[in-house]
């Protein structure tokens, strides 16, 4: 007889790990116990040595699909203790939190599993039509947990004591629902109800919700980790009404559809299909196909892509029952820039004028979690938003300088698309998507999310805080407040350096590299605004090696809001007759235009910017595509969609680009690119061609600077990061250019390219530069 103590660390809670251990212990004829220790699982087994070996091999090879083992430590137990007598059987012991050490991991939410779904659809099953059906293999995790360990009393399921049948399942180690913390049924679990806009309950039947949707009504639907505004996609009337009520004139809506319908309206490839079907069930930006228009209109998405997700909970599947709707608009229920509403009262209050009816339930959402969004670029699924299904699972970095980190670091990110990051050892815990922390409500959400992250990772001290260099970001001010309050050092890291560090951490490659970091805006080391940067990372030091030409941004944020201002500014720099050209657009009043020109002439409230976004914006205005940005990146996002319509010869554009690119001292002249675009417009070239031209020109110009820098330094890696790297045309062109030179491209895989990856990069940058 031998006895061993086995500690397993990793994602081992809320994924059916203990029943699995129970089963393999029984199978191998072992005695002992398994116990949840809050952040790891402790197992004691006693039996024949070869059985223990078989047990260990089962543990590694057959572990539950959603679990993740980071570390197994095995220790012999003194044979003199007669363990066989102490452990007469193999048992699952109650959780023990007395030994909680710092590290712990809660799994993200997991979409409903096939077995649970089957039960919902089975009219004879006791869970038939029950929206909250879940088991150890599926259901909410992160969004219902208040603290560790992941036991029912620490989740919002504590409000729903199990009924007799559910207890039997919960206590039976052979059952799929053994210790399934989110399990419930229609007798004991959360209940759905439908209210009108006054909050009066008018039905408890989800079929009525489907009926309202079919009638063209707008519904607020509280789901698992968040709330959606939902309407039928069949009639433009509902879609346009939703746009009007949300004051969201153009930003594409995401839709929810069924797997079997995807081919009807999209061109989906294998990568995309695997991602959209995965248990994470994110939104995937799919290419529209030729038949798209047959099903939905431009009013759903005016881009060449459409964001689609599949149902991920029982509730969602039930919305597709007894209806011929092939998709619904499913957009997060919030006013632009504000956090999604999650509690019933707030939903009713904030969405009173937006939704006609409310499909709600009585389970509390503890952690709000927006849908994640991915897009395929360069053949890889890249994260536009890393949230539900991903958070709070940590990202590991194994680079030697980071692997042995012993500090707990809190990085607070930038301002837009904010995500915070907590680092413990070599694990980077990113919060769910937070949003625009320039808004007070969203800023508070950031604070709450950080607090929750600290709680659910059992963190009891922070050693360092990292934030952006921008002096007026709320996150910067918050970082300084926290630092002062808790006497923790605060380090400010430049925005684009953080983008570069984020890419290195993402790929876990810290070799010397050149990285192109392109986006809308970041506060530069010189006090100007950056956003079209080429960095050289050499021997552990990062420096700016090249960039786009500096342009004047007139009126601070106004120039981002009204892209015609950027066009005016760049043409002004080119000494063209700006007044006449801009007047032609008939957009600004005479007085306003006069003030803008006055502002440019006298340098009143202007900043210098090397932003790639602002150059693309100016072309978006030049071709009369977009004069007002109503959502992040709108002018350039729509310009990319337009460029995709270009059907002419690529070689023709390449030739034009080659003639137009001017680089001096590693600075790409953007004025002449804009002037060239204006010439093309004046020569009645198609606007698709102009749009395509500027994309290739920027891609080739930046590639040239990066490749030359790399070659001069004998560097083989060239990376691409920043929000503009979501632009498929620019990104794929740059990667193509890199490959042509037999250099190695670095692209994002695990971390968002955009500002959602900044906090991660801030933390990496801090670690690289400390000690």
């Amino acid at each position: 007889m031998t006895a061993k103590r086995i500690d397993v660390k990793g994602i081992v809670q809320g994924v059916g790990f203990r029943p699995f251990i129970y089963r393999i212990a029984k199978k191998n004829d072992l005695k002992g116990y398994v116990k949840n220790m809050g952040n790891y699982v402790e197992i004691v087994v006693s039996g024949k040595l070869n059985n223990i070996d078989a047990f260990l091999s089962d543990l590694k090879l057959e572990k539950p699909p959603l679990s993740k083992i980071d570390n197994i430590s095995i220790e012999d137990i003194d044979e003199n203790e007669n363990l066989n007598e102490i452990y007469g059987d193999f048992t699952i012991k109650l959780s023990d939190t007395s030994k909680i050490e710092e590290e712990g991991t809660i799994p993200p939410d997991i979409s409903i599993c096939d077995e649970c779904l089957k039960e919902i659809m089975d009219k004879k099953d006791r869970r038939s039509d029950y929206a909250f059906t879940a088991c150890t293999n599926c259901g909410p995790r992160f969004t219902v947990i208040e603290k560790l360990p992941y036991d029912r009393e620490n989740t919002s399921m504590k409000d729903f004591p199990l009924c007799k049948s559910c207890i039997e399942e919960y206590k039976n180690p052979e059952d799929r629902r053994f210790h399934a913390q989110a399990t419930c049924c229609d007798i004991c679990g959360p209940e759905l109800f439908i209210t009108d806009d006054s909050g009066k309950i008018i039905s408890n039947d989800i079929c009525d919700a489907v009926k309202f949707l079919e009638e063209g009504k707008i519904l607020a639907i509280k789901g698992i980790g968040g709330t959606h505004l939902v309407c039928s996609i069949n009639s433009d009337k509902s879609v346009l009404e939703l746009r009007k009520r949300l004051n969201r004139p153009t930003q594409a809506f995401a839709i929810m559809s069924r797997e079997e319908y995807l081919d009807l309206f999209s061109k989906i490839d294998e990568n995309e299909l695997n991602m959209i079907k995965s248990p994470k069930k994110p939104i995937v930006a799919l290419k529209k196909n030729e038949l798209y228009e047959k099903y939905f209109s431009e009013h759903v998405s005016n881009l060449n892509t459409i964001g689609v997700m599949l149902p991920y909970s029982g509730l969602h599947y039930l919305l597709f029952e007894n209806t011929d709707q092939i998709a619904y608009i499913m957009t997060s229920a919030n006013l632009p820039g504000l956090p999604m509403s999650i509690d019933n009262e707030q939903i009713l209050e904030k969405l009173e004028n937006i939704a006609d009816y409310f499909l709600l339930h009585n389970r509390k959402i503890v952690n709000r979690c927006d849908d994640s969004v991915l897009k395929e670029i360069n053949g890889k699924m890249e994260l536009l938003r890393r949230s539900r299904g991903f958070a709070p699972e940590p990202v590991e970095v194994n680079y030697k300088k980071i692997k042995n980190n012993s500090k707990n670091i809190l990085a607070l990110g930038p301002e837009l698309n904010s995500v915070a990051c907590l680092v413990k050892n070599n694990k980077f815990y990113l919060t769910q998507y937070i949003g625009n922390t320039g808004k007070y409500e969203t800023f508070n959400y950031l604070k709450d999310a950080v607090e929750n992250l600290i709680k659910i990772t059992n963190t009891n001290k922070i050693d360092a805080i990292v934030c952006d260099l921008h002096p007026s970001f709320n996150s910067t001010i918050f970082a300084k407040e926290l630092g002062e309050k808790y006497k923790i050092p605060v380090t400010q890291v430049q925005h684009h350096e953080s983008h570069c560090h984020s890419l290195m951490g993402d790929s876990d490659i810290f070799e010397n590299n050149v990285t192109i970091a392109i986006d809308g805006l970041g506060y530069g080391n010189d006090g100007n605004i950056w956003g079209g940067e080429v960095f050289l990372f050499k021997n552990g030091k990062i420096e700016r090696a090249g960039h786009l030409e500096e342009q004047i941004q007139p009126g601070a944020d106004l120039a981002s809001k009204y892209p015609l201002r950027m066009l005016a500014s760049i043409l002004n720099k080119a000494n063209l007759n700006v007044s006449e050209i801009i007047k032609g657009y008939n957009y600004f009043s005479e007085k306003e235009l006069k003030l803008i020109l006055f502002q440019l002439e006298k340098n009143i409230n202007v900043s210098k910017t090397t932003s790639t976004g602002r150059v693309l914006d100016s072309i978006s205005a030049l071709v009369s595509l977009c004069f007002e940005r109503t959502y992040d990146g709108e002018p350039s996002i729509r310009l990319e969609a337009l460029a995709n319509e270009y059907t002419g010869e690529i070689s023709e554009i390449e030739k034009l680009v080659e003639e137009s690119i001017k680089i001096e001292n590693n600075i790409l002249d953007t004025t002449s690119l804009v002037v060239k675009s204006l010439e093309m417009l004046n020569n009645n070239e198609k606007i698709e061609k102009i749009a395509y031209f500027i994309h290739i020109a920027i891609a080739d110009g930046l590639s040239k600077i990066a490749i030359e820098t790399a070659k001069k330094q004998s560097i083989e890696y060239i990376g691409i990061t920043g929000g503009v790297s979501y632009n498929k045309i620019i990104s794929e062109r740059i990667v193509e250019n890199i490959k042509k030179e037999s250099l190695k491209p670095l692209i994002h895989k695990r971390i968002p390219n955009g500002d959602g990856g900044i906090s991660f990069g801030q933390a990496i940058g801090y670690l690289l530069n400390s000690n």
Binding site: G438, S472, L521, Y523, I529, L558, K591, I604, G633
Partner: protein
């Protein structure tokens, strides 16, 4: 480090300079029983019997020295009078110290002096001492110290806001700063935009004389309303919630601010006060203010709360944090 324009812009950069380099080197900054320099209020006090003498000084350089609505002379008087006024004091007398550059046109000086005289009559104050120098400066500099009188313990502080108070601003904001900006840079006006520079002692006294208490008060000059509100909130250790749609702003200032990307909340005023008063008095105080020619656009713009710190503004798209301005705004939208 050398002084930059930011050090004079009234924002956090300037605050730091004042706290560290200026106050940090002074030890005697207070008269027993009075309000001293370290509280950085609009003026300080010296207790004498059952009264307090209220004392302040302001130095003025303005470009251009003549602008729509006023000139450097008028500002010199009003700036000092207003600092006394927002302490709740009755301004009595001013000093006048003029530094002139070589080559300065005497006719201009004459015009400035006439304007000073006019403003003194409006405010009911006397200039009882003065000094004139010619020196190597770029343009005329006028400094003016002033004294006023207030009953003992009745000085209105900027730190005295109480939870539940209501915030009132006495009229349209942003006019002075935008006027100066546009006329300095030579923008051709086709508008009535002009500086609001005026002495507010009469306006303030009309409230106090009616027997109302003002818990806290400031004149929102450099840094504008945003700066004054933040200072009042910070010093009172409370929060202020204001409502965007209630802030009095003329269409003209709104339009020009929107065209240049300048937030009127951060723009200087020279004839306005912002006060924190008990809610129950607020409507009556508003009535008194709006009856006065300088207060006809007065509005209740918000209230004082302990629910948060700092200044928040309710807008149609949620709440916004109103920061202390730091000079020119830095873009923050991607």
């Amino acid at each position: 480090m050398n002084i930059t324009r930011m050090h004079g812009a009234g924002g956090t950069v300037m605050q730091k300079l004042i706290k560290e380099t200026i106050l940090g080197n002074l030890e005697n900054t207070k008269i027993e029983g009075g309000i001293g320099l370290e509280s950085l209020d609009d003026a300080s006090t010296i207790p004498i019997g059952d009264k307090e003498i209220v004392f302040t000084v302001d130095g003025h350089t303005v470009h251009p020295i003549f602008f729509p609505g006023g000139d450097i002379g008028r500002i010199s008087v009003c700036g000092t009078v207003n600092d006394l006024s927002v302490m709740g004091a009755k301004p009595v007398a001013l000093s006048l110290s003029i530094v002139l550059p070589e080559g300065f046109d005497i006719e201009k000086l004459d015009k400035i002096m006439k304007s000073i005289n006019e403003a003194c009559k409006e405010a009911g104050v006397a200039i009882i001492t003065g000094d004139t120098k010619v020196s190597n400066v770029d343009d005329i500099i006028i400094s003016s110290a002033g004294i006023g009188i207030v009953d003992s313990g009745k000085a209105v502080r900027d730190c005295g806001m109480k939870e539940g108070d209501v915030i009132i601003v006495s009229g349209n904001i942003g006019e002075h700063g935008l006027t100066i900006l546009l006329s300095r840079e030579g923008f051709e006006f086709e508008s009535e935009l002009k500086s609001d520079v005026a002495p507010v002692n009469g306006l303030v006294q009309s409230v106090l004389n009616a027997g109302f208490e003002i818990n806290a008060m400031k004149d929102p000059t450099r840094g504008g309303l945003a700066d004054s509100l933040n200072e009042m909130a910070e010093k009172s250790d409370l929060g202020i919630l204001i409502h965007e749609d209630k802030i009095p702003i003329s269409d003209e200032v709104q339009a020009i601010g929107e065209a240049l990307g300048i937030d009127p909340l951060t723009v200087a005023n020279e004839g306005k006060v912002v006060m924190s008063v008990k809610e129950k008095d607020s409507e009556k105080i508003l009535e008194i203010l709006t009856a006065h020619p300088l207060g006809k656009n007065a509005k209740i713009i918000g209230n004082v709360t302990s629910e948060h710190k700092g200044v928040l503004m309710e807008t149609i798209v949620g709440k916004r944090i109103v920061d202390t301005p730091m000079g020119d705004p830095i873009p923050r939208v991607c």
